[in-house]
Amino acid sequence: MLLLLPVPVGADHRDVEVKMRRTGARRWTATAAATMGLALVLAACSGSGGTTPTTGGTAAGTGSAECADYAKYGDLTGKTITIYAGIVTPEDTPYIESFKPFEKCTGAKVDYQADKQFEQQILVRAQAGNPPDIAIVPQPGLLAQLVATGKVVKAPDAVGANVDKFWGASWKALGTVGGAFYAAPSGASVKSLVWYSPKTFADNGWKVPTTMAELTALTKTIASAGKMKPWCVGIASGEATGWPLTDWVEDFVLRTAGPDVYDQWVSHKIPFNDPKIAKALDAVGAIIKDPANVNGGFGDVSTIATTAFQDAGLPILDGTCAMHRQASFYAANFPSGTQIGPDGAVYAFYLPAESATDKPVLGAGEFVTAFADRPEVQALQEFWSTDTWANLKAKASSSITNGGWITANKGLDPANLVNPIDKLSATILLDPKSEFRFDGSDQMPAAVGSGAFWKGMTDWVLGASTSSTLDKIEAAWPTS
């Protein structure tokens, strides 16, 4: 700014000379000032990044008994592993906590960063060549997109072996892209759950249904009793509005058409508008597009589109709605102090299949995706895929956020879960008869899975026909 001191027009020569010299002097002062300012900024920046790792020091714990399991990871003192995720406070604390023993015994430092824009940002960061060491990716579809950027590195063999041992082939397949295994599963959730009030059910003599026919009959009974609407549904979720209905459809495809058709549908071996899918969508429509059945506590069918999914199950508590289909994580949406459990104010039952012996389970999960193959990163990946970590994380979640976290890791000790819903979910997930299928919209290409499918379901619930909705989604499927 000082550089722009104007020289008055018409000033005599000597005057100009003097002014020039003076401005010259000021210029150097300005430079010095600017440099000083920059120095302060740089000092401030390096202050935050320059802290040396305090944990470990000289790999302090390596000798002690509690660190025996960690000896194989070697001494990683002074190494830092960066993690980037979409899991923000308060759920991030149990994560950070679960890595503490690893940090203590190996001397490595785990730097956990998270923000809600993770799903957009991770792609941008990967494409820009600035990825974290490890990302917690919540969708196989996003994992495939990340692998396509060429920045994801394959999981080390030890991780593959752990996944074979603790999860099994179907989970391993979800972390596999184009025949190569990239990402081990971490957390999981069960989506095939129906929330209800055990007290309301007992008071009215309603029984938890064990087959689809019983569920339909129960819906009719509740509707004709007239005390409350049988179902409450809400799909509003900002730009992701519509996703709860994609879960409904996936659950019903699994039940009316079976897991094999489900796999073909998700991988687009059969078109999105296949008659079998239309049948499943109509089955959903028979429940939630019938004004007699919805929308308990909110109004007519159209309110499904405008009710926030977080609020959608709350009318169960005040007796204006009997049932709400939503994943295990919905437990966190009830007001604090709500008794959740078989004898509490709310609990959940497994959304039944056609017969009581079939157990298709819709769920979701997260995948530990690495962008670097440095030894410390691979060591953390390996640790992350063990039963040791799964139990550490379950314990941390139980004590910090009162649960709300489960995993399909077979090494998980149910005793480490405190919350009845977590226990129920873990039982469903680890039941050998269960046929687990991952959330289909999360595996479809983004143009469908986080675009046309969401939007199509929103239009559908507002009155669009089943066939036009499915045709439109099919048309949005990328051709390449």
């Binding site: 920059l38 792609l123 519509g242 007519d300 589109a305 405008t306």
Partner: protein, 325 residues
């Protein structure tokens, strides 16, 4: 790298920075003494450089990107543009953008102008002005959330004893008047108008402030002469006020129009672009970052750019004409 090393690097970086700036200033000083024209380049240079890096390069990249497919792996010509002008959903997006750009500037300016005229010279002018100017201080996202609550819907069944309480102000008023509450943000195409109201609410204050200043700047002699000629209030407005503040009117109209072309926050906060309310800027974001179709997203960005150009050209011409007077 330990702390000492880091500190050394920092000092080195600072010294290099100081050396470069010193060198630049030294050269400028030398050239300045000789009175060379090239000294101008030293002042313009950084700006030009930043414009090239921050504006020209991304603009060119976006145009190129808009000719590629969703993943950016294959050249597909003008297909993305064909999609914009043929697919049903995209046509709704274009229709909405037209609605925004046509309705908002005129209504907001009209409201602002009327208000400016009414309160001009009245008692409590300052207070009245701050009242309508207040929404300007609220961010678009904040305004979106406020109005989302205003429009909030809860069902109301007159036959039931205990209906849920209406949270939304507007629906509560409807219920008081004995009417049924409405889903303001759901029913097409009226929901667009309810979104546009939010923008008008924000921008009317802006229009009022600028126009009020322009009205006050009309020379008293002109108005007095007109009054002596016997004009009434309407004629005074028609033949004196409007022609005198015409350049300001144009600036206000075009500024709001550009704001409406770019509108994103309000739509995103209130409906997420659903129920047929999406606009170009919102669709651009959704396609690029949620649906993973960066080609189509880029094409929408280019379209937005092309649409803004004529308004800016008109705006600049008007400014020049006003200056030339």
């Amino acid at each position: 790298m330990n702390v000492a090393d880091k500190f050394l690097v920092m000092v080195a970086a600072l010294l290099i920075f100081a050396a470069i700036i010193g060198l630049v200033l030294f050269v400028v000083a030398l050239l300045e003494k000789r009175g060379a024209r090239s000294v101008g380049w030293f002042f313009v240079g950084p700006t030009v450089l930043l414009l090239v890096v921050g504006l020209a390069y991304p603009a060119v990249r976006t145009v190129v990107r808009s000719l590629y497919n969703a993943a950016g792996s294959a050249f597909i010509g003008l297909s993305n543009y064909t999609t914009i002008f043929t697919s049903g959903d995209m046509l709704v997006v274009l229709r909405n953008t037209v609605l925004w750009v046509v309705i908002t500037p005129f209504v907001a300016t009209a409201v602002g102008l009327l208000y400016a005229l009414v309160v001009d010279g009245a008692r409590g002018e300052a207070a009245a002005k701050s009242l309508i100017f207040l929404p300007m201080a609220i961010s678009f996202v904040g305004a979106g959330i406020i109005w989302k609550f205003v429009y909030e819907y809860k069902y109301f069944d007159p036959t039931l004893a205990n209906n849920p309480r209406q949270i939304g102000l507007l629906n509560q008023v409807l219920v008081w008047l004995g009417m049924q509450p409405k889903q303001f943000l759901l029913n097409q195409p009226w929901n667009n108008l309810f979104l546009i109201v939010v923008m008008i609410w924000i921008q009317a204050g802006f229009a009022m402030t600028i126009l009020s200043a322009a009205i006050k700047a009309i020379p008293l002699e002109t108005t007095e002469a007109a009054r002596l000629d016997g004009v009434n209030a309407v004629q005074l407005f028609r033949f004196i006020t409007v022609p005198s503040i015409r350049p300001t009117l144009v600036v206000v109209l075009t500024t709001i129009a550009i704001g409406c072309l770019k509108v994103f926050d309000i739509v995103r906060t209130m409906t997420g672009g659903l129920y047929g309310t999406s606009v170009v800027a919102n669709e651009f974001y959704t396609q690029s970052f949620t649906a993973g179709n960066q080609g189509l997203g880029a094409a929408l960005a280019v379209l937005l750019f092309v649409l803004v150009i004529p308004i800016i050209v008109y705006n600049i011409r008007q400014l020049r004409r006003a200056e030339a007077r």
